[in-house]
Symmetry: C3
Subunit: 655 residues, 3 copies
């Protein structure tokens, strides 16, 4: 099997009689699994009461897995501090936005700002790192588990209040007048004379000051960074050569994943295509069409996002949905073949490892309806033959090339999401809607896309999509100037300063250095209002937002006399939210201009290249045919066929 | 008037000048009322301040009623402890799930676990029992009033926490490891080392452990049982020969009504057909069609349910809606004739007494829009002539037979409802929807139905409907084996152990002893997804749930290759939620097989037998004709006619 | 410019460098603005820490404005107490209905019942009044800002509890038995033996006693009256000749605006036609049609309401929307011309001053998306040319007459709104819906309307509309008897006593002295239920409510045998909620009878007379033609034209 493509599984030896472990390991290997994640919820088994340790069972579990040449990813158990610890130190608990402690009784019951918990988490990490640093089965570490899950990034506890004041004092260099100016506290007589006066921005009579909120969101993100860094420092000191991983989630933006990832070696995420389809704000029509397949672009978007997070693009799927889950509103089963297709979509986007969650369905507790590779009675579940097939197919792809840089990039900003959450200005505004529409339009054209952070170097791309970036980071305009790429800027880009203020020069702020256009005022519109416009000879649609500008530029698209799109040199700028066909048309024209081949794919089909290998995936409920112009000779097929069944995957060499 | 059919009324002498009492009593008798419930909210009048008693007014009220030969049902006043008591003992208050005391200022402001309140409730009950034990007007006791109303069964107070820990210690016989195993606390590092560590399962970061929740729901139900038993013990000691009654509610499942009823002599309920139609989850179309009549099956279901609760099937309607109420979202008036029809529907199902709520509309406080038999100005309200007519009709039914056992039973489980509330697995899952659909299908076929508890003896029935029973009680499978009945088992039956775990042998657990079928995995589906299937030659529909099974049985109904219904010996098993026509078709076929006559009734018509007497009720907004095949000779009509007007009732002898 | 029509602007010198002030003032004058409101959020600048005052900047701001002959309305800064004050006295904070303090961090963070805050507010008002009493630029005072905004009238704090008990003791003259009788506390054993036992009516197990709630609502309103009176007393003592104004809001009913206004000289309100359209419960269709114009009757209603509040009818628009705002769910921009049209609609209804909010858009804090007359960069915003045009047009209307009394009055009751909030009896019941439908029907007929309070003298009107008045104030029936007006009484009028009880004589209570009709029972209906009726030869519609009456009167309109409308002498009485055409038809007939001319206006056109001047306003998205029969000779046009463009206004002399 190629070094760079492997299968894994998440395993909880503590849930099962020790007598089953060796057989479990043997059967993992038999399926073609080589990596096993364990340990991340095991604190109460490791330390049942204060200072009373029981490592031996974990030693034996590691030994057993190692004896079968399985590589272990060992999770630090900090996502679930045990009851005795909470009882001794209730200051560990986070508080919700209504000022109430979030009690013990499930998981993630800690505040990132609790100094007690920092100390306790460091203690258990250090002990674990010391004990297993030299264990031959240890392949990598996972820090904690799904930071932020259940909305746990932001805590409104007294501990968070203390830490926030210190953070502000640091940010504003001890100058409370600088804070007053940045926040505009004069507005409602909110001026502070001392940092000690500053509360958390919750439970206010009406909305809190936006800059107060944004600083609190930034602070909360930084607390996750600091907590994770503390663990990474401990683990890296113990095992400098072992990769450190964290398993992020989908559609979660509570903290800046780019920044947390700076301390990791490999980014990973937990991919639940059906669960996310059900709980994310997709239209009902999509929830029907893709009920048992997942949305064709949602999962890919996250693959590309976490490839951007990982050091040198290294990333995994740490938890791959293998059947129905328990946590969505409704939990259907994947179409037969879909688990294989999801696995290959991940590898196509550059994943090193796809790890199924979980080895065996748990008969008890919150997730007892969550499928695994095995049923509760240890029979194989439907996903297992598909995993076995993936393992076999991997071996046909010896020397699989690494995914290279794409020609198209899409810029994603966590801070943008926070700002829009704080100050949407229109209830119909949706940053995720904007991002996924633009991403989907590109993917439907058969393009490979890199997600990039707002601080990224854009010099190597031919086209850069910036769905919206209200606060321009340092150097952003300079990077635009120096780029040969065509940059498509979405609405509200450049509309705010770092302090959430309207720029002195009005929106789009510093962008005016490169774009001779000034926004005089802006409208937000209900989402049932459509702006019908013309783009060249085509009818196009837009909605939700409309800037009114002063400019000498002639609009590239208009609706009822108002410009929707302006172009200048290598920039295109939207004053509205274009619908999918509108952004797709602009993108297709620019690709033609830049010599990038595009193909409008059949509605439910998607493709992805990895070096010279091309993959095609059918997300539709029926069969689909791969278009002629992207096929190679028949002999180039590695697996699959040009006519794909529902849930089918094909792979061929492009040359 | 036959002994076993009587009319009653709820009366509040404390609301009216004493000068009105004698005339009230006289007019009650004139209407044909023989029983009067009083006293259940009168504590502040009985004991205006601590130890300062004023029983005399109540003595005189009892005397006045007794002088008119009215039989009094005397309510213990524990649903509304007075303010002085709450101020002295704030630990009496219940707490809501968000951890806040539920303040004085309305009613039911007490926690079932408050030891202080147990003592105080016992004190007032004892005093009342002693004072009125020998009063000649005393006919029966009512304990408290509508246990659980306003969601008051579950309290999240410190007192409840203490009591819960004791309950757990008792259940798990002091072995916290047994609890850990039962709850699966290893799952998220939640293992306890001592019972004192266990909190109430509220305000957790995400969902609490399901077994923790179910034990809390069981405990809360048991606290109601204990509170009621305490009152029953006191009352029974004082008056061994007086029946003890409690007035239950509709569509309320916070506690196990079968268990509370074990301490009662007679079960009763408060029947508000229009109020329940408006607040219960009926489709909008039904809310239109039955706006002034109430749903044709909802009220009957509860009649049958409380007949199952009462000792030897003894049951009453303690509060019968007589006109518009105040507490539904919208409060229309009954169609003329409907109060009579509701009364007869109750008697047809075996009620001994139908008691109207209330004698006279109160001009003040929360229920001033609630109709009575008299208006605020003491004029007769529209319901009164109908009550008078019912009284006259009762006298034509001398020697009315007692309702016997039906041939069909439907099993209802409070624990099933709790479990599905805790772990629905699909947002579309509805235990009430399932139960009422199955019940309604049977009733539309003209069948009489007994509701039975999961522990009931089923040997005497020909067909037993089990809409869903996830946790099989002890002996259930043995009872299936020993039964000659055909048992129709709904989806998820047998899917959980007593500890809310997936059975070792997978679902349907121990049912596999009698049904060779194993559920491999299950899907939950949005309620707008329909599974179109074939049952024999018929098109049928199903939804919401779909099990995938391993079995050698050939499906009796299928959709798209997946079995929806399996039959084996005397068992039918659904792997999905059948729609109304589907379950009706199966039921009709089985009735034919078992020699039970069925008639598909006109849409809004329903019938019910009591011995050799048949009743027909028209719930439609227009006239309806009683089908020929269920009529007797014209001379058999006791009252009514074969062509029923809207809201009409007919009654005839079947032989 | 006529004395009685002037333009104003809201200005925050503290937000801008002092160097800009003189130019700001000069440009205000240039536009035609003569009045400037300042100061209402400036406490933290005036008193940055306890006792440390900085009045000098405000002196200079006043001086600068005065030097340009601008008249200053100076706001007392009590809407935003500074942080140091809150930290020193946390008892200032209000509590929400769930018993939690509403924290500092935005505005209006005070409880009207806090004695500490009364003292502190008096202190700052006194100091401000003393300092500026003699300033030549001072024209008027504004007390506080938007009392009640963000739902701040009712506070559930311990301080409010204390004050409420004192208020009750006063109202019930120290007799707790009187309170028990009034509230009907016997109902659920809630009798009090001492005023100290009485809690605020929140967090009760189910709904609190309605009379308890209504008294709390009355108390809360009285606390606003008292707080405002305290300020008025201070200001009036310092400057007996300077008018005192408060700026009320739209669609806000937390306190009785008639009563608060008794202490003011001029009533004013903050008019945001687009913001209110979006957040108020208008049908979606209206939200589309009037997206950039606002609803044609909503703003006018408030103009008429606040004319009724102001002493001798004196009223202003203190804040006039000049462009998109920030606080509605969606914030479109006004159609070009609309700011002018809104300004003239206000003047047509008798406004003395229309003051735009705000001079310059703020770049920071909560309202940075709120348009002003100038952009953040100090360029003129789109509203400014329209303001300039209005100023020019004003000068053409020398000697504009004062608005006189209308022939039609509509009675509006804050207490009615409270009572229906407390006891709607039907979820579809909407007091605002009723009021705006009746008002809109009159306005669509081209009528001028006076809003009047329930205590108003009605002798001078020809027709009085009373959409609903459940509690009849003292003397109401006498006033009906003495009036020559035809009175149209809406449903539920007279249905309750002062203590929220059903009258002894049943509804409509004392109205029965003049109307021989008694309500026996009432139904509330879902809003999708329509009662189709006949009124004379016409088909009419009604909904939501239906009384069943005993009367010898023949119904003037019926549905399915039930009377919808009864007439007797000079009274019409609805037993239901008539739809717009139904009430319009009755009104049109009565106008004909009374010799009042009506014209059914084109759908989006409205007119308003001020003395002999007629104004027409086009609220439609397209052009509209003023009907011939209301035009004068062409030469009479002061401005505008008979064919009005979208957002257009015309003005002509009627003689």
């Amino acid at each position: 099997m190629p070094e760079n493509l492997s299968l894994g599984v998440c395993y909880y030896p503590e849930h099962w009689p020790e007598s089953m472990w060796a057989d479990d390991a043997r059967r993992m290997v038999d399926i073609g699994i080589s990596r096993v994640r364990i340990g991340e919820f095991a604190w109460s088994r490791i330390e049942p009461s204060k200072g009373d340790f029981n490592w031996e069972w974990l030693d034996r579990a590691m030994d057993t897995l190692g004896q079968h040449d399985l590589e272990v990813i060992l999770g630090t158990p900090t996502a679930t501090p045990p009851k005795w610890l909470i009882d001794a130190h209730p200051d560990i608990l986070a508080y919700d936005a209504e000022g109430r402690p979030r009690k013990f009784g499930s998981r993630r019951h800690y505040c990132f700002s609790s100094l007690t918990y920092r100390r306790e988490a460091a203690r258990i990490c250090t002990l674990m790192a010391e004990r297993y640093a030299g264990h031959p089965a240890l392949f990598a570490w996972q820090t904690d588990n799904e930071y932020g899950c259940h909305d746990t990034t932001r805590s409104w506890s007294p501990e968070a209040g203390k830490a926030f004041r210190l953070w502000l004092q640091d940010k504003y260099q001890g100058d409370v007048h600088a804070l007053n100016t940045a926040w505009g506290t004069v507005f409602w007589s909110q001026e502070y004379t001392d940092f000690s006066q500053i509360d958390l921005p919750n439970m206010t009579v009406t909305e809190a000051t936006p800059a107060h909120l944004l600083d609190f969101y930034r602070f909360s993100s930084d607390q996750v960074v600091a907590f994770n860094r503390m663990q990474c420092d401990i683990l890296r000191a113990a095992t400098p050569d072992k990769p450190i991983i964290h398993n992020f989630m989908g559609i979660y933006t509570g903290f800046d994943h780019f920044k947390v990832s700076e301390d990791l070696d490999i980014a990973s995420w937990d991919s639940y295509p059906l669960g996310f389809l059900d709980v994310a704000p997709f239209p009902l029509e999509d929830k029907h069409t893709y009920m048992r397949q997942g949305h064709p672009d949602f999962t890919s978007f996250h693959h590309d996002l976490y490839r951007a997070c990982g050091k040198d693009g290294r990333w995994w799927v740490m938890e791959q949905q293998p059947g129905p889950v328990n946590w969505a509103h409704h939990n259907p089963a994947p179409l037969p073949g879909m688990v294989r297709t999801w696995s290959w979509e991940a590898f196509a986007h550059g994943a090193e490892t796809v790890s199924y969650f979980r080895w065996r369905q748990a008969p008890f507790a919150q997730e007892q309806f969550h499928a695994g590779l095995n049923l509760v009675n240890n029979d194989e579940a439907p996903a297992t033959p598909e995993a076995r097939q993936v393992a076999a197919e991997i071996s046909e792809l010896a020397n699989t090339p690494v995914t290279g840089k794409a020609q198209i990039a899409l810029m994603f900003s966590y801070e943008a999401k926070w700002l829009f959450d704080i100050q949407p200005q229109g209830a119909s505004w949706s940053y995720w809607g904007l991002v996924l529409t633009w991403y989907g339009a590109a993917r439907r054209l058969g393009l490979d896309i890199d997600i990039i952070s707002p601080d990224a170097d854009i010099s190597a791309y031919k086209i850069v999509l910036v769905p919206s970036l209200p606060i321009l980071p340092d150097g952003f305009v300079a990077r635009l100037k120096n780029s040969k790429a065509h940059i498509i800027l979405g609405p509200r880009t450049g509309s705010k300063t770092e302090d959430v203020q309207v720029p002195d020069t009005l929106a789009p702020g510093a962008l005016q250095e490169v774009l001779p256009l000034q926004i005089r005022h802006s409208e937000s519109l209900r989402d049932d209002i459509t702006l019908d416009g013309k783009f060249g000879a085509s009818d196009v649609g837009a909605s939700r937002w409309l800037d009114h500008v002063a400019t000498d530029l002639k609009p590239a698209a208009m609706s009822d006399g108002t410009g929707l799109l302006f172009a200048h040199n290598n920039l295109s700028f939207f004053t509205t939210v274009p619908d999918g066909p509108f952004i797709a048309q602009l993108l297709a024209e620019l690709c033609t201009e830049k010599g990038i081949a595009t193909t409008l794919l059949p509605e439910h089909l998607r493709i992805r290249r990895r070096g010279d290998v091309v993959f095609a995936f059918n997300y539709g409920p029926d069969g689909a045919t791969i278009p002629d112009n992207i096929r190679s000779a028949d002999g180039a097929l590695v697996f699959g066929s040009w006519d794909l069944p529902a849930a089918g995957t094909a792979c061929w060499r492009s040359t």
